[in-house]
Amino acid sequence: MKAKGQLKEYEVIGRKLPTAKETTTPLYKMRIFAPDAIVAKSRFWYFLRQLRKFKSSTGEIVSIKEIPEKSPTKIKNFGIWLRYDSRSGTHNMYREYRDLSVSGAVTMCYRDMGARHRARAHSIQIIKVEQVISKETRRPQIKQFHDSGIRFPLPKRIGQKTTLPRFSIRRPRTYFL
């Protein structure tokens, strides 16, 4: 998978196609994070094949629904359990992210894994994503924002879209008290 743009959350339900021997087959539901519905279906089969003995050619997707975020204006802490392949082995991880939506947090996770561990999207498997209440977060970089009186300046202002000239006789001003 290529984690293109903002990932979306999909609820994919599939089953093995019924045969003469097996007239009713159980339904399997998965929570998939993918850039679009086509990739979501593909990821569904990728995981199903690893867990059960049927694949896209012997099964069918019964339903695929995009799940929109329930509270897109509320800041939430997300704990993400994942498994990824590094250059020398495969490891489990628990990571935490703060975002307004689940899919936003998972997108951040893919970007973060790429940055910190050079892990490509195809080698990452999201095992579980849960909203975590502030008290139960484990990471200090998330806990530092759990402060009702949070207050900090923006000391050095660089890297923004600039209207500054390309050539100038003076250095730009980076502090705005």
Partner: protein, 168 residues
């Protein structure tokens, strides 16, 4: 140099980049190192995440509890009269002037040039009058001021010693 503008709930910020660029908003809460949850019910900004690099902090602030709902933000904004205070500020005037200047037609620029010329000619005429008046009365340059510096005690002592030596 202590900082005066902080990222805090209730701080009014000017969004400089993105889809809501040019509008004012209030910081309601901090999401993470790079983003804040902002809201601008009176200025047409929905409750969204905006990156710190996209916003410029203003000097305006009103008391607001973190994660307050939009109606409380609107009420506090109106009570603090932020829209009015912003419209009076020189920052807003400068934005206005820049916008108007960019919308000038060629005819407007001609009119502006002529107006500047008229004004500058009046100034030059008054200046020349003052200059000739000063030249005729010998006051082109201001009178030389005698230095009223108090004597340095070391120098004064050295001078006194030299004077005493000289006398001897």
């Amino acid at each position: 140099m202590p900082f005066q503008r902080f990222v805090e709930p209730g701080r009014v910020a000017y969004i400089a980049e993105g889809i809501h660029s040019g509008k004012l908003c209030t910081i309601v809460d901090v999401i993470d190192q790079t983003r804040a949850l902002v809201d601008g019910p009176e200025s047409g900004v929905p409750r969204t995440a905006v990156r710190f690099k996209q916003m410029h902090l203003t000097k305006f602030k009103f008391p607001l509890t973190y994660t307050s709902p939009t109606r409380i933000v609107r009420k506090s904004w109106k009570e603090a009269q932020i829209s009015e205070k912003w419209a009076e500020s020189s920052w807003a005037h400068k934005i206005d002037a820049r916008k108007r200047r960019s919308e000038l037609t060629d005819f407007d620029r001609f009119k502006l040039g002529r107006a500047r010329q008229t004004r500058n000619r009046i100034i030059t005429r008054v200046y020349q009058k003052l200059k000739t008046k000063a030249a005729r009365s010998g006051r082109t340059f201001p009178a030389r001021k005698r230095s009223k510096k108090t004597a340095n005690p070391k120098n004064a002592a050295a001078k006194a010693a030299a004077k005493g030596k000289g006398k001897k």
